[in-house]
Amino acid sequence: MKPIETQKKYQEYVDKKSPNSPILKNCFNAFWVGGLICTIGQIIMQICKTRGLDEATSGTIVSIILITLSAFLTSLNIFNKIGKFAGAGSLVPITGFANSIVAPSIEYKSEGYVMGVGSKMFTIAGPVLVFGICSSIIVGILYFIFNTTGITLS
């Protein structure tokens, strides 16, 4: 091996030397845990529907239950272990979103309720909210334009 003199060569060398994440294993775990969370959601939904609630209300109840469960498990220091195991599987469903808000709230409680919990609560979820809302506005504008010119999207 030759001595490494340039930054570019060093970066290439480091990329080769650094261990990769076990992608296959991570994907598999993400797949079944994510699927399991969604199945739980679906079961709750079906129960609500058989009790005579409409689609929208049932959906809301599913969200509320999953968020509460995720927040509760976060506070018990369990959700981070699930997250470490399942990765995107527990991150992508609404459980991950709840976790990303509860986690900094716990972490920054020591800085007080205003400058700690209040201002740091959205440090991780913030970008998701900002870009989520922005893109929904753009889609809304597009829908408005096309809809008024006689083209319907549905």
Partner: protein, 334 residues
């Protein structure tokens, strides 16, 4: 003392390392070096309300414990050199605010411990002090909070990421004593090879360690085989391998006597620490606990301790800056 070669200080009135102390957290207590530490904590808070307070307490108790072990009255400690990773080094200054020891706060990221040993030795050799204490601390939880994500967040760590050691190490240097002696101090220069991944600190710091190692060997005219052990601070598994290979390309074979504190402190297979330990306390506790014991028992007679540091913060990473590395070396002989 005198400057030899490019950047090495050779001491003449050799400072003795009188005694050391180390306190570590629960994860380190599960590691292979547990029996060498003075105290292993059962939880990360140690009865405090915040992690920052816990870290201050760890540093404070380590310093007091080192003083106690050395049998010196605390009033005979002339200066304290201490540092940590938290903003403005609050763990050290808060921990030592009631100690009445003149305090010199230092920052060299994870290289702080050796930076302190080197500066303290200069004070002693130059007759500016009879006894100084050098300490450094880090805490996994406070470091995660400052540099990465909240602990409760369910995310995955990359394989090259390292685990910040919870704990503190302290060493008392004295003008009189029977060794081990600090014989040379090679302050490193800042080396940046353009690595931007904050989850791969070992790779970012390895070139700095290489630079300091080669400079030290050239300045002193020594070969790697002169030392019983060459120990780097916290390159971890990734950085260790890189350093061995980089040294080989420059014509130095360090395979047989080289190791890294970040590799030694955790069991990679059992403890899920990925690329190994890091933080000021990594080098601090492994030296104060394990290496000092080896020196006292004469299992090692000459060691070269090269503490490595990544001179970045979370803002510089977010702004896309690369990570400058640094490494300071002290040669310790009995």
């Amino acid at each position: 003392m005198e400057k030899i070669g490019k950047q090495t200080i050779k001491f003449t009135n050799l400072p003795t390392i009188l005694d050391t102390a180390s306190i570590v957290g629960p994860k380190e207590a599960d590691g292979p070096l547990a029996k060498y530490f003075d105290k292993c904590l059962e939880d990360e808070f140690w009865g405090e309300k915040t992690w920052e307070k816990a870290e201050s307490k760890i540093l404070k108790e380590t310093v007091y414990s080192a003083v106690k072990k050395s049998n010196l009255p605390i009033s005979s400690i002339d200066y304290c050199f201490a540092g940590d990773l938290l903003n403005q080094c609050i763990s050290s200054s808060f921990g030592l605010r009631d100690s009445n020891i003149p305090f010199i706060g230092i920052f060299g990221a994870c290289s702080t411990f050796v930076e302190g040993l080197g500066l303290g030795s200069i004070f002693i050799d130059g007759n500016a002090a009879n006894n100084v204490i050098c300490a450094a601390s880090s805490h996994f939880c406070s470091a995660e909070k400052q540099f990465r994500f909240p602990l409760e967040l369910g995310n995955q760590r990359p394989q090259s990421s390292q685990w910040t050691v919870t704990g503190a190490g302290a060493a008392i240097l004295s003008s009189s004593g029977t060794g081990p002696f600090v014989t040379h101090f090679t302050p490193g220069r800042i080396v940046d090879m353009g690595i931007k991944d904050a989850n791969n600190m070992g790779a970012a710091m390895a070139p700095a360690a290489l630079d300091t190692l080669i400079t030290h060997l050239n300045d002193t005219g020594r070969k790697p085989s002169y030392y019983d052990a060459i120990i780097t601070g916290d390159l971890g598994h990734v950085g260790k391998e890189i350093l061995i290979e980089l040294a080989e390309t420059k014509g130095y074979n360090i395979k047989s006597n080289y190791n890294d504190c970040g590799v030694l402190i955790f069991d990679k297979n059992k403890q899920d620490t990925h690329a190994g330990g890091s933080g000021c306390a990594c080098c601090g506790t492994v030296f104060s606990g394990y290496l000092f014991n080896m020196l006292q028992n004469k299992k090692y007679k000459k060691i070269l301790l090269i503490a490595t540091g990544a001179l970045m913060n979370s803002t510089s990473t977010q702004q896309g800056e690369s990570i400058p590395g640094i490494a300071h070396a002290v040669s310790i002989e009995i």
